[in-house]
């Protein structure tokens, strides 16, 4: 550990990315629910059109949860294809910024010590008790925070882009291996759906924790940076 206390301030790049990502993701998720209503069945493999072969019959998402608020596949696809751009470009920007300003290596990368079961267990207990003051060994973020931010930034958000590209017939000729890797087009579509709902789960926990730990200060800090 360096002697200097790590800055608690959110970097400008983090704040810009956070809000572009939040807005894009909300639009992508809600327009995605509208698109899901067009064919509410998920399959594994390359093909699937018969509900009898589906591994999941998805519910019909109500208007309040979708963009637009009525079933309109064309308009939902417009929103989805539009929001995909700021979402993907902002994620690329965040990764470059996070590697350059060391946010990734300082704050998100976990150390070997943090992976000790006793340490992880302690972090879980502390969270369960509602104590969010972190062990100084972990640094700016607790182990669980690092793990979830790492999973979201490193796996889930990139996976949304990769699976989205894989189900686009115009993109597939550029990287047919990608569709194979994901197990076929309908598998890619299923993974797109599962990952979207995993992100929703993260979103809910994230919002709850912000509400518990002082929503006004947290939101203010994510806009203006906060105290160093």
């Amino acid at each position: 550990m360096s002697k200097k206390k790590p800055s608690k301030k959110h970097a400008l790049s983090t704040r810009i990315w956070h809000w572009i990502n939040a807005i894009s993701l909300i639009i992508l998720f809600m327009s995605g629910l509208n698109i899901s209503n067009a064919h509410r069945y998920l399959y594994w493999g390359n093909t699937g059109f018969d509900p009898a072969d589906a591994w999941l019959n998805v519910i019909r998402f109500p208007g309040w949860a979708t963009i637009p608020g009525r079933y309109d596949l064309a308009e939902a696809r417009d929103w989805h294809a539009l929001a995909a751009w700021p979402f993907a470009l902002a994620l690329l920007f965040m990764w470059i910024a996070m590697l350059m300003n060391r946010h990734f290596s300082h704050d998100i990368t976990t150390s070997k010590a943090e992976w000790r079961p006793s340490f992880i267990w302690k972090d879980i207990i502390e969270h369960a008790k509602g104590n969010f003051h972190h062990d100084p060994v972990a640094g700016k973020y607790s182990f669980l925070q690092k793990l979830s931010y790492g999973l979201v930034l490193g796996i889930m958000l990139p996976l949304m882009i990769v699976t989205g590209l894989a189900i686009s017939p115009g993109f597939e000729p550029a990287a047919p291996w990608l569709v194979d890797l994901l197990g076929g087009r309908q598998s890619a579509r299923s993974i797109h759906f599962i990952t979207a709902f995993s992100l929703l789960a993260f979103f809910i926990v994230h919002i709850v924790l912000v509400l518990i730990t002082g929503p006004f200060r947290q939101i203010k800090d994510m806009i203006f940076g906060g105290k160093a």
Partner: protein
């Protein structure tokens, strides 16, 4: 440094975005321009990432879906069509017209006499499902070359025998997709004449785009300079009447 007014404005702005007003944005001219632009960025990105002639995945016979789902128009009730269907489309005509030096009218025999391409490909519907089928027919480029497409032609229109509530079905592609090696005028599905539900007797295959681009019940192929004067000017039935994207590679 930070006045509460700024903070409040920022929060109000975020709240407004969160609660929607999305439909208003989508219906505004700016919204339409934005989504149209995004569609174009996707098309250009796809074509930059893959070569313009890059092939869609082709599959093995074992991968063919047992029953190829019919969607959209699955039956044409008009007597003239039903009579043609009965007669094995012996007097069906495919017109090739528009900006061509050599307009043609092809019979099914003419089409079968051209060099054929057979491809086992995956059909992806805009709704989300996929099916694999084996399609056979001449490449569109073969027909366009025989008709001698003129310099100024930028799009190929596909006219169809079926209609929906708001009018006749049609579709269009640009010259990149028109001359793509897998763009064929299919007359066979899985080794047999195309069934009615899948677009008998002729159906376009535009393999790198979604199903609604694959015009069924094909009656004419038209070379044009611009889409503006065709239908409502958006390049297809679904594009004109339901706001679907003209580039269906997403």
């Amino acid at each position: 440094m930070t006045s509460p007014f700024n903070r409040r404005t920022a929060l109000a702005g975020l709240a407004a975005l969160a609660t929607g007003a999305c439909s208003k944005v989508a219906d505004s001219p700016t919204g339409r321009t934005l989504s149209k632009a995004a569609e174009g960025w996707h098309r250009r990105a796809h074509r930059k990432l893959a070569s313009r002639q890059a092939l869609a995945r082709e599959y093995e016979k074992a991968d063919i879906s047992p029953d190829f789902k019919g969607n959209g128009t699955i039956r044409i009730s008009e007597e003239s069509y039903q009579a043609e269907l009965e007669a094995g489309f012996s007097s069906w005509q495919l017109e090739v017209r528009g900006l061509v030096d050599n307009p043609m009218s092809l019979t099914m025999d003419d089409i079968r006499a051209l060099p054929q391409r057979t491809q086992i490909t995956r059909h992806d519907c805009v709704e989300g499902w996929s099916a694999i089928g084996e399609w056979t027919g001449p490449q569109l480029s073969e027909v366009l070359d025989a008709a001698k497409v003129q310099e100024g032609a930028n799009f190929i229109i596909f006219r169809c025998a079926d209609s929906f509530k708001q009018g006749a079905y049609y579709e269009s592609v640009d010259m990149v997709d028109a001359y793509h090696p897998q763009t064929i005028i299919a007359h066979m599905l899985n080794g047999e004449a195309i069934p009615q539900k899948n677009g008998a007797p002729l159906r376009m295959r535009i393999e790198r785009q979604l199903g609604y681009k694959h015009a069924k019940f094909l009656t004419a192929i038209e070379a044009v300079a611009s889409l503006d004067d065709i239908g409502l000017g958006k390049g297809g039935y679904w594009e004109d009447h339901h706001g679907y994207q003209w580039y269906a590679g997403i």
